[in-house]
């Protein structure tokens, strides 16, 4: 069994391995950094470290605008600490790795780069994120 953190962005649910989550905070205003991609909200201070804040919704789909951002998830992976602003954090669930389904193969799918499976839990469809891919993509 693995533990996943479930959060919502726009109207979808996503899951990340709890192991990489350092902390969850209320969303705050960040410092805008010039000449950065639109999905980078800015940089914030997390206990003395300066880290980028990425608008998760915009990162996944540049055309969408999240109306209400309540939370920031701070993730630490491969020596990098980065935070994502999301609509809301729901809960933590236990899920068996083997029960994860594949994403249907659709062309022109924005999220297929970062989502590596589907968790179906209580008849909800939750996208499981490949956090390494996502972070690497955000930093390039």
């Amino acid at each position: 069994m693995e533990k996943y953190l479930i959060f919502t962005s726009y109207n979808q649910e996503y899951a990340i391995d709890i192991g990489v989550v350092r902390e969850i905070r209320n969303w705050t205003q960040s410092t805008i950094i010039p000449s950065s991609p639109a999905y980078v909200e800015g940089i914030i201070n997390i206990r003395g470290t300066v880290i980028p804040l990425v608008d998760f919704c915009k990162k996944i789909n540049p055309d969408r605008v999240e109306v209400e951002k309540k939370a920031m998830i701070i993730i630490e992976n491969e020596d990098k600490t980065i935070s994502f602003s999301v609509k809301n954090v729901l809960d933590i669930i236990d899920y068996n790795k083997n029960d994860i389904k594949n994403l249907p193969e659709v062309s022109q799918c924005d999220i297929s780069d970062f989502v590596d499976g589907i968790i179906s839990f209580d008849e909800r469809v939750i996208f499981r994120l490949n956090i390494s891919f996502l972070i690497r993509d955000c930093l390039n």
Binding site: T31, I32, I33, P34, N45, G48, T49, V50, L139
Partner: protein, 669 residues
Amino acid sequence: MNNYVKDDDLETIRQIFFEECGEQLSLLEEELSSLEETTEASEKINTIFRAVHSIKGGAGAFGMEKLVRFSHLFEAVLEKFRSGEYVVNSVSVSIFLKAADVLTDIVSFYRDGTDLPVQDNVTEELNNYLEKVEKYNDYSDEVDNFCFNPIKIDFEEENTFYLQIIPEFTFYENGDDIRNILFFLEKKGKIVVEINSLNIPYLGIFEINKTYTIWNVEINTTCDRNEIEEIFEWSGNSIKVNFLNHENFLEEKNKKFTFSNKEKEEPILGKALQNSHKENSTIRIDTKRVDNLVNLLSEIVINQGSIRAQMKINDIRSGSPLDIVISDLEQLTHELQENVMAMRAHPIKMVFQRMGRIVRETSRISNKRVILHLEGEDTEVDRSILEKLSDPLTHMVRNAIDHGLESEDIRTVSGKSSEGNLFLRAFHRSGRIIIEVEDDGSGLNCDKIYRKALSKGIINNNSIMEKEEIQNLIFSPGFSTVDNVSDLSGRGVGMDVVKKSISDMGGRISIFSKENEGTLFSISLPLTLSVVEGLIFRSHNQIFIIPVSSVVEALLFQKNKIFEISEGVWGFSYRNQYIPIFHSGKIINNNFINENNNSYIIIENEKREKIAIIVDEIIDQSRFVVKSIEKNYKKIEGFSSATILGDGGVALIVDVDFLIETFCSKNHR
């Protein structure tokens, strides 16, 4: 990982050994560099010998055969000098230096698994010293010597020895104790010990670095003389033992106080001073711990900022008791911060000393005689900078000798001294460390540089450039002025790499060169990489920091001083000169439209190029803890780093060099 790791414990001990090796090697180098000039060569040879010896000892314990072999050879040669068979001269010093290099190489071979360069010629040169007496090639003895040899014991005979034991100061300095010796002597037989304390002078002329006591020991033993001598062997030269016959012994015992201080005083005092100079006691701390301390301290500084911000919100006036207490706290924190910073600071000597060796080496290969002048060796530099400084400096020193200084004949013709002069200087200036590398050679040849850059395709045919710009071309990637790449400087590392490593540290490098008079490279580095004194300003509703070190002046906005040069390009009249001006909002957004012009800040770079920036408001001046942006994100153009403000928000620190380069039309390409 390397192959020698057997388990964690061993690895830890190995690590300690390598650390010690590093210390011994730098000691070695320090002593070697001053060996030639000193009048106390024998003293220094002794130190060098001990350093090599302790490396050998550790290497033997770890089975590092190559290290044992070479250090033993080195030691054997040093022994010849120690015994006075040879006298130190410049040739031997340079061989020693090379030997020290080889030792360094072998140590790093075992530590990092780096390639081991061929050292045959050094080995040969060392062997030359031994040849006359014995060709040294048998080292296996030495390793085996550590094992135990049984000694035949003769019960029949019983001897009485009369010993006079005179410990030198170094004996105690090494942590030895006379009690240990007596303890071992006691094991050999019955002893009678008498202390001769007559030499102890009155307190006024008592020197702490001198030993005054002599021990007279009468021992009744079944052992022979060799076995007694063996006890003292362990302490080496630091203890003197005289075997006396009975009459002399009695005479010694009854000697009266005959301390002749007059003649001895002077040289001993000098020696004592030298010794005490080296005795700064130190402890070894993992740099990570110090770094943690620095980080924690910066948190405190930030927190204090928060307290200040809260006080403002709650309308607590300055001068109130709370304000006074907080001010005191800030004072203390400031002091604490400086002390912690000082913990990481090291004198630049560490790097300069290495340069001494590079100069020797380079001048030998290039056949130029060079005198190295060092100034400001005691200037302290943050460790993080120091570590990164060595490579660029090495390159610049090599360059200066190889390319900068002319050959002896040419120097004589142009009326210069036959030896070239190379200056290395370090000093503090307006919150930065300045390091200068200057030679009195031919200076930069602008024509040659221009043609070279043209042929390399760095510039094109119709570039019209000023002298200074041409000189700066040597920092372009793929540039090298010497036609045939020489053994020394042409190692694929160009001045562009030097420039890059300097600017990575937040430093700047500039050239001042005059034909036939020489070239001066000036490196300006921040004192530390972790704190910056900055001016806070607001622009475009966001707060930015600009390092005070690059601010010339801050002025109130005056519309009549600004004039349009062409569409969107503005000039500013500043103290009888016209300088470019732009609105700071442009850093964030290029299409920015000026609204609240409140103040100007005049900034300049190392070359004293000035520009003016318009800001909405200048808020304050304060010290800021530098936080890397790249660590978790990537480099942002126009900003060198970020900092955390009192309210916990992040502010960007402006990269002045980048701004001037971008907005100064002259440099914009």
